[in-house]
């Protein structure tokens, strides 16, 4: 099992967001989580990556058999969790390439491996740039500084390719992308799919799932997963809208 979330509850500044969430992801599976604004999608992504702003008030998360919630963000990354940010951070003065080298080598040190030699590192950069169609010119620039929305998202996928995680969480990677940019990003992700790597794709719209076809689709509503199905569920949700969920589950609270 890759990821096992049981009854997860989390809050931010005293406000309860996740209210008992359950989820199981096996190696190689692609899961999509859809849900209306405020349902807790991004909170789930942040909590899994270890963002310090959130407080876990109940439940458990197991990642490859380890208690994920015990680990610092950098330890989670080294264990193989990767979060593609909805809003990637710009850091002027830090070059993309030095940032990646540092990240890669700190992860290797964590795993008891030697740092990558310059030559091998550059070869890997080149390979991954091609794989996700990331402009080589951007690699030399400051981290995300002055990048367009599409370039930032592509940089996230480029980092994903470089760091080779076991579980990649994509937090609304499609937001703010036009259809061409979306296709390139999706194509990059598809190339990175394999039988050992799992994906958790968080999205508001069904559109992205036309290009990255999920094995399982979940609907998150008011801090809980309320429905799970195949990729057809995404289409149905798109067609009927999120109000349909309320009809399905009249007991759902509307206190989002």
């Amino acid at each position: 099992m890759m990821l096992k979330i049981e009854n997860l509850q989390a809050e931010i500044q005293g406000k309860e967001i996740l209210k008992g969430l359950d989820l199981i992801i096996n190696p190689g599976e692609v899961h999509a989580i859809m849900g209306p604004n405020g349902s807790g999608k991004s909170t789930l992504a942040s909590v899994l990556a270890g963002k310090p702003d959130y407080e876990i008030t109940g439940g458990s998360v197991e990642f490859k058999g380890k208690d994920l919630l015990e680990l610092k963000p950098e330890e989670r990354a080294a264990e193989g969790v990767f979060l593609a940010f909805q809003y990637p951070i710009e850091i002027p003065g830090v070059s993309n390439i030095n940032f990646l080298k540092t990240a890669l080598n700190e992860i290797r040190t964590y795993k008891g491996l030697e740092p990558l030699e310059a030559k091998a590192f550059l070869a890997k950069i080149k390979e991954c740039q091609n794989l996700v169609e990331f402009d080589a010119k951007l690699t030399g620039r400051s981290l995300n500084e002055g990048f367009s929305g599409g370039e930032k998202k592509r940089n996230e996928i480029f980092q994903l390719a470089m760091l080779e995680p076991d579980l990649a969480i994509l937090d609304e990677t499609d937001s703010g992308l036009d259809i061409d940019a979306l296709k390139i990003v999706a194509e990059g992700v598809n190339r990175l799919r394999n039988q050992n790597r799992s994906f958790l794709i968080i999205t508001h719209y069904q559109r992205l799932l036309d290009y990255i076809v999920p094995d399982v689709v979940h609907v998150l509503y008011n801090g809980k997963i309320v429905k799970t199905g195949t990729k057809e569920l995404a289409l149905e949700l798109e067609e009927k809208g999120y109000d349909w969920l309320k009809e399905l589950n009249p007991n759902l609270e509307e206190t989002v």
């Binding site: 990556a49 963002k51 989670r76 990354a77 990767f82 940032f99 990240a103 760091l163």
Partner: protein, 426 residues
């Protein structure tokens, strides 16, 4: 008690008497009289409000250990003309002797009879009434005269290595004069280091004054790298006179030391002259770094631009006092000033005071000051990629300093300072 310290700090033995020219002897006499009236600065004086300087004065016995051996110094692989100065004293035997003919370097005692020296000496210093200038006037007994001739440019930077060593029971005073004649250009790197051994740290209080004269159209790129020992105290006063079309750039990196007070006074004395002052301080433990700048806009169409940034950790104290004075004559002045500090610890403190005094009516001036913590969102982003919290902080600090490093035109120097900042925050 204070009276006795003050007397101890005036060197009454008159080392130089007999060989000194009259203009020096007169300066000393005058300064001694002033000092007798003036007390050691205390925190009631605005200029020393946040820096309790009397606590840093020397006490006890001297232990001067001058073994004149070569000293490990930063920028050792830099291709430069190297000048070694130990406790303010020029050491020709440790310095490069083959200098280009456009460049003259003399020890202070050999400079006294040079006409250029006599013309310029104390022309800036005479404006200053403060305690440490007077103390220096009364007591300086070592220093350098650097003289770059008209129209000349050197093939590589001039690197002055100021080394401090031993222990002294009194304040040491050195005096330097740097003259750039018209249309000359110089990259001047000044390193300030303590020669520490495992057994003993350098217990020195040095009061250094350097006067810089930039004649018409000359350019001086002045990088200062201060990495002093934990018992070394330095009051470093730079007085810079800038003439028409001349440009002065200062880059002050204060990375360690018990106490560093940098006084920079800039006189934009002729029109269309420029000064750019950049500073970076990275402090730990109980270190104190105090940057006092004074920029005098005296004539029209001059520019000054000032950016000081710092990172404070432990119980360190930072002071920034930047004053810009625009005189009535100085129309069309552009003057900017900015101070930004990151506090890494709750016990560190920063005192920032930008000041503007404007007597002209057609000027553009702005100043500002910010203090804060490292951006937690950016730290999390780095950590989420497997980078440890410590390394992430280090990266962020380096990024913070980056905008200053990119102002150093000499790439090798900028690169080495960048590496040292990274190393220091490791």
């Amino acid at each position: 008690m204070i009276e006795s310290i003050r007397m101890n700090n005036i060197n009454t033995s008159e080392i130089q008497s007999g060989i000194e020219p009259d203009f020096i002897a007169q300066l000393r006499e005058k300064a001694k009289l002033t000092l007798l009236k003036k007390g050691i600065p205390n925190s009631h004086e605005e200029d020393w409000k946040y820096t309790p300087i009397h606590r840093y004065f020397p006490t006890g016995e001297s232990r001067i250990s001058s073994d004149s051996s070569l000293i490990d110094h930063p920028f050792s692989s830099l291709d430069s003309f190297k000048i070694m100065v130990v406790n303010g004293e020029f050491k020709p035997e440790l310095s490069d002797t083959h200098l280009p003919k456009e460049l003259e370097i003399h020890s202070l005692e050999n400079a006294f009879n040079k006409p250029a020296f006599k013309t310029y000496f104390n022309q800036m210093g005479k404006e200053r009434e403060d305690y440490f200038t007077q103390l220096n006037n009364a007591d300086f007994d070592r220093g350098l005269f650097i003289y770059l001739k008209k129209n000349s440019q050197l093939s590589k930077p001039l690197h002055i290595i100021h080394v401090y060593e031993g222990k002294d029971s009194r304040i040491q005073n050195s005096r330097n004069l740097i003259l750039l004649e018209a249309l000359s250009e110089l990259t001047l790197l000044e390193s300030y280091i303590s020669k520490e051994s495992k057994e003993q740290s350098v217990d020195i209080f040095s009061n250094d004054i350097s006067e810089y004269f930039l004649e018409r159209g000359s350019k001086l790129d002045n990088i200062k790298y201060q990495s002093l020992g934990k018992e070394t105290r330095l009051v470093n006063t730079q007085l810079v006179d800038i003439h028409q079309h001349a440009e002065y750039k200062s880059h002050t990196y204060s990375l360690s030391g018990q106490l560093i007070r940098n006084n920079i006074q800039i006189n934009l004395s002729e029109s269309e002259s420029e000064a750019h002052l950049y500073g970076f301080y990275s402090l730990h433990n109980q270190e104190l770094v105090d940057n006092h700048t004074l920029v005098k806009h005296l004539k029209p169409f001059c520019q000054s631009n000032e950016l000081y940034k710092g990172v404070l950790d432990g119980k360190s104290i930072g002071v920034f006092n930047g004053r810009v004075e625009v005189s009535q004559d100085a129309q069309k002045t552009n003057a900017y000033q900015q101070n930004q500090t990151i506090l890494l610890s709750k016990e560190a403190s920063m005192n920032s005071k930008p000041e503007l005094e404007i007597f002209a009516d057609d000027v553009k001036c702005s100043h500002g000051s910010t203090m804060g913590q490292l951006d937690t969102g950016a730290l999390f982003y780095l950590q989420s990629r497997g980078i440890s919290e410590k390394t992430a902080q280090k990266i962020m600090i380096n990024a913070f300093a980056f905008s200053l490093l990119s102002e150093i035109a000499h790439e090798d120097i900028a690169f080495e300072i960048g590496e040292k900042i990274q190393f220091l925050n490791a």
